[in-house]
Amino acid sequence: MDYFLSEEQVMIRDLARQIAEEKIVPVRAELDETGEFPWDIMKVLAQSDLFGLFIPEEYGGLGKGCLELSIAVEELSRACLGVSTTFAANALGTYPLLLFGTDEQKKKYLPDIAAGKRLVAFGLTEANAGSDAGGTQTTARLEGNEYIINGTKQWITNGGEAEVYTIIAITDRSKGPRGASAFVVEKGTPGFTFGKKENKMGIRASATTELIFDNCRIPRDNIIGKEGMGFVVAMKTLDSSRTGVGAQGVGVAQGAFEEAVKFAKQRVQFGHPVITFQAVQHMLADMATSIEASRALVYAVARFIDSGAKDVSKESAMSKLFATDVAMKVTTDAVQVMGGSGYMKEYPVEKMMRDAKILQIYEGTNQIQRNVIGQALIKEFTKKK
C-alpha cells in the first residue's frame, strides 16, 4: 500500500533495503549459528548514515524522526531481527541523552553516535527488576564530585560491544519511584565490567550481557536530567522507542510472509501448487491483512510522535503490542504454510519465528503494554466524566 512517504523517506527505505538484501541476507544464517556480533554490518550502516537518522543535524545527524527510524528498522528486520535489534537498541540507549541530556552531553556523545563510531546500550532491567522497574537495586551515591555506582544490570542488549551506556540507578531509596536517576557511563570506566554473554533462543547476532558496577566512579556531570528523574527518563525513552519494536514486528512478519508465498507457489502436492488450496490462501490472506494493519498503525503512531505530541504512552504501547503479536502469529503461520520445510534451517522462517518471540517480551512485555493502555483508558474516561 502507498503510505505517501516523502522522496527522502523512500530514499531511506530503499537504502536500508539494499543493505538488508546485499549485506545481511547472505550472512544471517551464519550469524544465527555462531552468535557473532555483526560488526561488519554495523560498519556499513555507519557509512550509510543510518545511525544518524534520528539525531538532530546540529549534532551531526540527519534530523529525521521516529517515522524514518521505523522505516529503516522495518527494512533491516525483514532480513534479520538480530541485526535490527542491535541497531534499534542503539537508538533506545541514545534517547535518554537526546530527550534529557544537557547541551554539553549532547555535544560530547551525539556526533559519534550519529557517525556510528560509538554504539550505545540502555540498562534498566535487573534480576529483581523486570516488568517492575521499582525493584531496581543498583545504587548511585554522590561523593564530592562523583557518583559511585554499585549493582548489576542483566540482559542488556549491546552489552560489552557498546561504548556508551545509559543506565538507571537509585540515588535516594527513601523517595520510592522518585528516588531513581539516569546516568551515562562509558565503557572502560574502572569498576564497570561485563558479565556472561547470554545464549539465546533467537536474535542470536544481538549481544545480551550483564553490566556489573563495583564501586564504579563517574563524574557528577554524567547524570542525565535531574536527580530523581530516573523513571521519567526511562518511561519517556520507552515511549519513543517502542514504535521501533513495532517496526521490527512489521519487518520480520513481512520477511516471513514473502518466504511463505514464494514457497506456496512452488510446492506441488495433490498435483497443484499448495497456494491453490483455499486453506493456504486464507492463511496468506490473513497474514497479509494483519501485516498491513500493523504497518499502518506503526507509521501512524510514528507520525503522531514526530508531530511533537506530549503524551504518547498509550499509542506507542498499542503499536508495539499489535505489531509484535502480529509478528509472532505471522512467523508461526509462515512455518505452517511451508510445512516441514518451514521447520528446517535451510529456510529462514524457523529463525524468524524464534527471533519474533523476543518482540513480545523486551521493552516491556505485551502484558505490560496492555496495562499501559488500560491505565491510559481509565485516565481518559475519568477525565471525560
Partner: protein, 260 residues
C-alpha cells in the same frame, strides 16, 4: 591529491547482444549500471582520499543519460562529476575514447587517474592504458592492493597470472583496478541527497580543446570485422633445473614443435 575516476555506463548484463549486420552492441531496452570494475575504481578513489586527503572527480564520456551513473557515484561520496557529451564523440572506438578522456583529464588536471580493469560490454581493457599513453604518464594495470600512499609516491600490487608484482610510481599515474582490490561501499543517505542536488559539469569537444579529426567515428581507426572471445592458452610449460638442464629441455621442446 587530485583523483579522477573514469567510469563507463554499461548495460546491466554480461550477455551483451550484438547486431550481426553492424557488429555493434545493441543497447536498447537493457537497464544501465556503472561498469562493475569501475565501482571498485570509485571505492579506491574514496579510499585514497580518506588516506591522503584531496578530492575525487568522476568522469564519463557518453550520452546525456550517462548522468545517472555520475549521480550514483556522487551518492557513494565522490566530490564532483563531469559528463563528456557531444555528438562528435559518437561512434568512438577505444583509441578515440581514450583520446577524448585524456584531453578532458589534461584540462582538469589529476595526480591519480583510476580506471576499471575493463568494461563488461566492450571488454577490451584498452582504454585505461591508452589514456596514460596519450597523457604520456606511467600506468599500472590490474591493481589488487594499495600498499602505501605518500605525498610523492604510491606502492601497489599488480595481479599477475602467477602471483603479483610490487610496483612503486611517482605522480601523476594511471591505475586500472581488479575486483580483488576492495569492496565498493553502498551509497549513504547524505550522499544520495547530495546526488539529487548536484550540478553535473558538462563538457563538449570545444571545452576540452580536442582535435575534431580524432573524435568519434571519424577519429576511430578500428574496423570491427568479427567479434569472438580469444582462446585462453593454458599449455605453458615451466622449465625447472640447472641452466644446462633447462637449455637442453628447451631445445628438445623446440625440436618437438619443429621450430628447430
Amino acid at each position: 591529491m587530485k583523483i579522477i575516476v573514469c567510469i563507463k555506463q554499461v548495460p546491466d548484463t554480461a550477455e551483451v547482444r550484438i547486431n550481426p549486420e553492424t557488429n555493434t552492441l545493441i543497447r536498447d531496452g537493457v537497464p544501465s549500471i556503472i561498469n562493475p570494475y569501475d565501482m571498485h575504481a570509485i571505492e579506491a578513489g574514496l579510499h585514497i582520499k580518506e588516506k591522503a586527503g584531496g578530492n575525487v572527480t568522476v568522469i564519463t564520456m557518453g550520452p546525456p543519460q550517462a548522468e545517472t551513473a555520475l549521480r550514483e557515484a556522487i551518492s557513494m561520496g565522490v566530490d564532483s562529476a563531469v559528463l563528456l557529451t557531444d555528438r562528435a564523440f559518437a561512434g568512438s572506438d577505444t583509441w578515440a575514447t581514450a583520446y577524448t578522456l585524456a584531453k578532458a583529464i589534461e584540462y582538469l588536471g589529476a595526480d591519480i587517474i583510476l580506471c576499471g580493469k575493463q568494461a563488461i560490454d566492450g571488454d577490451t581493457a584498452q582504454v585505461g592504458p591508452e589514456i596514460a599513453e596519450f597523457l604520456d604518464i606511467p600506468h599500472i594495470s590490474y591493481i589488487r592492493k594499495i600498499d602505501e600512499i605518500k605525498d610523492n609516491k604510491i606502492v601497489v600490487q599488480r595481479l599477475m597470472d602467477d602471483g603479483y608484482d610490487v610496483i612503486e610510481s611517482s605522480f601523476p599515474v594511471l591505475l586500472t583496478v581488479v575486483k580483488e582490490l576492495n569492496v565498493p561501499r553502498l551509497p549513504s543517505i547524505k550522499g544520495k541527497m547530495a546526488a539529487k542536488k548536484a550540478v553535473i559539469q558538462k563538457m563538449n569537444a570545444a571545452d576540452i580543446k580536442a582535435d575534431e579529426n580524432c573524435l568519434g567515428l571519424k577519429g576511430s581507426p578500428t574496423q570491427v570485422r568479427n567479434i569472438f572471445a580469444p582462446e585462453v592458452k593454458k599449455d605453458r610449460i615451466m622449465l625447472e633445473g640447472t641452466t644446462e638442464e633447462k637449455v637442453t629441455a628447451l631445445v628438445n621442446e623446440l625440436m618437438r614443435l619443429k621450430c628447430l
